[in-house]
């Protein structure tokens, strides 16, 4: 059975290789190859899962050693895999949601001439992501870690001819690189501390290391997690990453890749457990991000960016939970999985809306779409209910547990964290209701509204490619969109995900199934909140209702203006990502530009100048000296004569002395 693990990665990797090297002759079948191989990987995952269920919970982990990768002195890196319950959860999520999104993309990218390549990149992503969660040491995890970064880079910048997409892709890669530095330093620290960086030995040896070292390692891991999971302060790339095609946003920037940071923290649980300071920092990062994302999500008019803010916020919950230690790990992962379902569903729904609206993303130009695209409306609505934590749906179970665990942290910290989480839940309900109302309810603001005109340079070009019918092209030309439901190949994945959003949470929670499943890997401790669990649940529901109500007052009762009003100070700040990008731009980009420019100048004038100056000095000196060599024999004779005189004088002087 162990030998199948490599197959999980091999299938999509093969797909990527074939699709990217295959050339145009595979254009016709490329998307099917990609989808089939993704599905094959899912099937293998299911087989392995079934096998795992049949085993004793304590002995479910499987290992596969392929070959020795980098053996140098005491530095031994192997290509070896480890499949335990935690990895298994991820494998199923990645391959399952991944396969669904492959199917969805067949429809979404139908008219894109580079669809084969798109599927190649998607397969590459799946392979890298699976490598990330299957690696049995941190260095191999690092390979997957950067691999998903690469795939993300390629997919965000898939429409490369748009400068904004190319810039967003670059930004994502760079910000992630900063996080990656954290991971690489963490690995180095592990190597110098433990002499190894394989999961097993490192996590077993945590007791022997000093707390200072462990805190350092944990903080570096947290830095890496911040980069990959878009946590403050490295969150700025996620909003821009929405330049990528929507299936990419759903798969990579909502369901899987961005949650890798949570995986890393939970995987390194033993290290974090031994470093309480680092845990505290983790919870703070999570809390700050969940507020940050939520506030940003409230102000964005771009549907994808609003959802991106929401993603950030939800991952903030997970990181917060992960920072709580054994009382939170399981719930972090559980929220991760349910979030994977409903957020992917929401993004696919958003994609479907855009698909029907000539790739318009501004929600102010939506409205009343529920009658035109009923399936999208229902699936999106179910996802919406799940994310706001409507009782009985997925989000309710997972989020409620996190809030409970936050309170259970105890002391002032517990109250603050719990309060923030609760407030976050209210804001979540507010902004999601806002999205829902602006998109599917209210008046049809797209009437007589030329949406994203094709002349506009940075319009998603998919408008030209996947209008599905010729009439759409005509509509694009006249400007007014004709909302319509998407084809089945797109709606079926949405339906499947909606089902997941509804039932996954309940399924996991009944009988604490998920806790028992993960407990052998992550340890679980039951937290005891200072207030009863029932009270927490009640307040969660209450704030959710308040959030929904406020949103209805704001956007349901009153008509939504087509042009965004100026808004309050907070709104304006939130629209600009709380000025975080401006800060980056002024301090890092501008500063960097000045630095490099002045360095180029320094290199040219100072470093090179010393050399060139020496050369010029020599040249000048020889030029002067050359003038003495005027070519007249007589003047040479003078120097000879003078030289002779000097020689005689010297001789006489020497004799005199």
């Amino acid at each position: 059975m162990e030998n199948l693990i490599a197959l999980l990665i091999a299938a999509p990797l093969l797909g990527a290789a074939v699709l990217l090297c295959g050339g145009r002759r595979l254009d016709a079948v490329g998307h099917w190859i990609g989808t089939v191989l993704a599905a094959a990987s899912f099937v293998v995952g299911v087989v392995l899962f079934a096998d795992m269920l049949g085993k004793d919970p304590e002995n479910r982990a499987m290992h596969q050693f392929l070959f020795s990768w980098i053996p140098v002195g005491g530095f031994q890196a192997d290509v070896a895999f480890q499949l335990d319950q935690l990895s298994m959860t991820f494998v199923l999520l990645i391959t399952g949601v991944g396969s669904l999104i492959h199917v969805y993309s067949i429809g979404y990218m139908e008219h894109d001439e580079r669809r084969r390549r798109f599927f190649g990149y998607l397969n590459l992503f799946l392979a890298a992501m699976l490598l990330l969660v299957l690696a049995d040491n941190y260095l191999l995890l690092y390979v997957g870690w950067e691999g998903v970064g690469l795939a993300s880079y390629l997919l965000i910048g898939f429409w490369q001819h748009k400068p904004s997409a190319a810039t967003a892709a670059k930004k994502a890669f760079l910000v992630n690189r900063v996080g990656d530095v954290g991971l690489s330093i963490a690995i180095m620290l592990m190597f110098t501390t433990f002499g190894t960086f394989a999961f097993g030995p490192v996590l077993e040896a945590t007791g022997e290391a000093t707390e200072g070292k462990l805190t350092a390692i944990a903080l570096m891991l947290l830095l890496a997690a911040c980069g990959k999971s878009a946590q403050v302060p490295l969150q700025s790339w996620l909003g821009d990453a929405m330049e990528g095609p929507t299936p990419v946003s759903a798969l990579i920037h909502a369901a899987t890749m961005v949650t890798a940071g949570v995986y890393l923290i939970v995987r390194s649980a033993d290290i974090f457990n031994a470093a309480p300071d680092a845990q505290l920092v983790t919870t703070v990062v999570g809390a700050v991000t969940l507020m940050f994302g939520a506030i940003v999500g409230c102000a964005k008019d771009d549907i994808k960016k609003a959802l991106a803010g929401s993603t950030m916020s939800q991952i903030g919950y997970m990181v917060l939970a992960a920072g709580l230690g054994p009382i939170g790990y399981v719930f972090a992962i559980m929220h991760l999985v349910t979030h994977g379902f409903f957020k992917a569903g929401l993004f696919l729904g958003a994609g479907s809306v855009m698909h029907g609206m000539n790739d318009e993303v501004d929600m102010r130009k939506y409205g009343g779409l529920r009658t035109y695209m009923p399936i999208t409306f229902i699936t999106f609505g179910l996802g919406y209910l799940a994310i706001i934590g409507f009782p009985g749906l997925s989000g309710f179970f997972s989020k409620d547990k996190i809030i409970e665990a936050a309170f259970a942290k105890g002391g002032t910290e517990g109250w603050i964290l719990g309060g923030v989480a609760l407030l976050g839940a209210a804001i979540t309900a507010f902004y999601m209701t806002r999205v829902m109302l602006m998109t599917f309810f209210g008046e049809e603001r797209w009437r007589n509204q030329p949406t994203a005109s094709p002349a506009e340079p940075d319009v998603e070009p998919a408008a030209a490619h996947h209008g599905a019918a010729a009439s759409d092209h005509a509509a694009a030309a006249t400007g007014e969109p004709h909302p319509h439901e998407s084809p089945k190949v797109m709606t079926i994945p949405m339906i499947v995900l909606a089902v997941g959003s509804v039932f996954a949470g309940g399924f996991f929670s009944i009988g604490d199934r998920f806790i028992h499943w993960l407990e052998p890997v992550t340890d679980h401790a039951h937290g005891n909140p200072p207030i009863s669990a029932g009270a927490v649940t009640a307040s969660t529901v209450a704030v959710m209702v308040i959030g929904v109500g406020l949103a209805w007052l704001q956007y349901g009762r009153r008509p939504v203006p087509v042009v965004a009003p100026r808004g309050s100070l907070l709104t304006r700040a939130a629209r600009r990502d709380l000025y975080q990008d401006d800060f980056n731009h002024v301090v890092l980009v501008r500063g960097g530009e000045h630095l490099t420019r002045s360095l180029v100048y320094v290199d040219h004038t100072l470093v090179d100048g010393v050399v060139n100056g020496t050369a010029a000095g020599m040249g000048g000196l020889s030029g002067r000296l050359r003038r003495v060599q005027n070519g007249y024999a007589r003047s040479y004779a003078v120097s000879m004569f003078g030289g002779a005189a000097i020689l005689i004088a010297a001789t006489l002087l020497m004799r005199a002395v």
Binding site: R626, Q629, N630, G631, Y632, A637
Partner: protein, 99 residues
């Protein structure tokens, strides 16, 4: 009178000749000045001969004369051919060494 005076005279003549070489541009005059320097040397040699009481100084002076004769022959030939090609006997005109 001390015969050393001959040496002083020779030194004076030699210096005048040398200065002439440096100052004059006409190759022929320059050449004459060279001859003057040689003659000054000869005078010194003859005086030395007298000083030491042997004839070696005179022998050297004799050789100097012979060599000077050879030098004059070649030198004048050079001047003539230079004049033919450049229509000038100025040493400054033969400045091909100049860059």
């Amino acid at each position: 009178m001390n015969p050393v005076n001959y040496l002083y005279l020779a030194a004076l003549l030699f210096t005048i000749g040398a200065t002439g070489v440096l100052i004059r541009r006409n190759a022929i005059v320059v050449f004459m000045c060279v001859e003057l320097m040689l003659n000054a040397c000869n005078l010194a040699l003859v005086a030395f001969s007298r000083m030491h009481g042997n004839l070696d100084g005179q022998i050297i002076a004799f050789f100097t004369m012979v060599v000077a004769a050879a030098e004059v022959v070649v030198g004048l030939a050079i001047i003539v051919s230079l004049f033919r090609s450049r229509h000038s006997a100025s040493v400054d005109d033969a400045s091909l060494m100049k860059l």
